[in-house]
């Protein structure tokens, strides 16, 4: 029952076909959860994966119900239930971590189309409601009472050039990561540092900014 091999996975890693085939949905969900937790900014929403996981969970719930009606031995039943609980936890935690990031950086995400497109439809609705509520709250409680040049919730004062009241995620935060394959020489940033060899399965502590493209294409995992 290797339900859900990674056929919907879009990264262009053709030479690793075999290892992709052996990655079950459970593994993919765990990976997505880990990456999301460790990354400072919000990552691409894995819609297909979430959808498949939901279906599997539903199927499992029905199976468990059937089992309990048919009087299958309680040990087996409790083991199935445990597995179900673990998968549910992963899914919930994944979605909740994303929601937390949306809440923290709602204004920033709305301004940035690239980030906005990483959200799912429901997350976008959530983000909009969040923004409206926060704006309204700030306005009613404080901003409307401030002098004229200071009423915006995006800028500190009407003299600010940028939207400096909007919190942004720290992209140069260090993250610990690991690559599955040898990636060869990799330029860390533009400051003229020598390129670093990224070997398979070694752990690295790097600023998130440097490896952003690799995380997005799925070549590096955050830990």
């Amino acid at each position: 029952m290797d339900s859900g091999d990674a056929s919907g996975y879009s990264a262009g890693v053709d030479d690793d076909y075999e290892s992709l085939l052996s990655t079950t949905d459970a593994e993919l969900l765990k990976r997505a959860w880990r990456n999301e937790k460790a990354a400072p900014e919000i990552l691409q929403h894995e819609t297909a994966l979430v959808q498949r996981s939901r279906e599997q969970i539903q199927l499992m719930e029905e199976t468990v119900e059937e089992f309990s009606k048919n009087g299958v031995d309680p040990l087996t039943l409790s083991l199935y239930q445990m597995d179900l609980d673990r998968t549910l936890f992963l899914l919930r935690s994944y979605l909740r971590t994303r929601l937390q990031k949306i809440e923290n950086y709602a204004f920033h995400i709305q301004k940035n189309t690239d980030l906005w497109n990483r959200l799912s439809k429901q997350e976008q609705k959530f983000a909009e409601r969040c923004i409206d509520d926060t704006e309204q709250h700030l306005d009613q409680s404080v901003l409307s009472k401030l002098p004229h040049g200071f009423k915006s919730h995006l800028k500190q004062s009407s003299l600010s050039l940028a939207d400096d009241m909007v919190p942004e995620p720290q992209l140069d935060q260090y993250v610990i990561c690991r690559s599955k394959k040898f990636l060869g020489s990799f330029q860390l940033d533009d400051s003229g540092e020598e390129p670093v060899n990224i070997e398979a399965n070694d752990l690295y502590a790097l600023p998130y900014k440097s490896i952003k493209p690799l995380v997005e294409s799925g070549q590096i995992d955050l830990v």
């Binding site: 029952m1 079950t24 949905d25 459970a26 765990k30 880990r34 937790k37 460790a38 599997q56 969970i57 499992m60 040990l75 087996t76 409790s78 083991l79 199935y80 445990m82 597995d83 179900l84 673990r86 998968t87 936890f89 919930r92 935690s93 909740r96 971590t97 937390q100 923290n104 260090y174 610990i176 860390l188 940033d189 400051s191 540092e193 670093v196 070997e199 398979a200 399965n201 070694d202 752990l203 690295y204 502590a205 790097l206 600023p207 440097s210 830990v223």
Partner: protein, 177 residues
């Protein structure tokens, strides 16, 4: 709540244990059970006295109900650990140990006490290894400065790991100070 850790440390201890529980261990069941088709994979069938590979959470659950004994992983013997400790003290690099060795050993100590020979020796060796590694991480991190993009390589051999939770704590501490 599924998201109890706050944002300054990426993973809480409970979440790390959750990750560690997916590692495979060997068990020797004392009963017979049909194959299990779980979301995380298919396991079984289980027959008495025939060893089987299962995830740690499954092994602990079975152990709690007295349905199996857990065979300690091969890295968890007194000889192996003493070797690792010596090598750890002598070299600057980190030694080969499973990624979640702390969580795995803790779970086994708590639930499978009688299955581990010389448990007190093993426990104190693991504590020592942990301390030596912490120390190494600490000195290594003092070299990193924020202006320089620095890739800290943690080990030479291609499959060496160390405790991520401790590492994150230290990284946060050192980079904030």
């Amino acid at each position: 709540m599924a998201n109890q850790s706050d944002n300054s440390v990426a993973f809480s201890a409970a979440e790390l244990e959750f990750l560690a529980e997916d590692e495979m261990v060997e068990i020797v069941p004392n009963m017979r059970m049909e194959p299990l088709n779980l979301i995380s994979g298919d396991f079984g069938p289980f027959r008495p006295q025939i060893a089987a590979q299962v995830p740690l959470w499954l092994a602990v659950a079975l152990k709690k109900r007295g349905k199996c004994t857990i065979r300690p992983p091969e890295w968890m013997s007194v000889e192996k650990l003493t070797q690792v400790l010596e090598a750890e003290r002598d070299s600057e690099k980190f030694q080969l140990l499973p990624f979640h060795y702390v969580e795995i050993s803790r779970l086994l100590f708590d639930h499978a006490r009688e299955d581990i020979p010389d448990i007190y020796m093993v426990r104190s060796l693991i504590e020592d290894i942990k301390d030596v590694r912490f120390h190494k991480i600490g000195t290594g991190l003092e070299i990193i400065s924020k202006e320089v993009t620095y890739a800290l390589r943690s080990c030479e051999e291609s499959a060496g790991f160390f405790n991520k939770e401790a590492y994150t704590d230290l990284v946060t501490l050192v980079l904030i100070s």
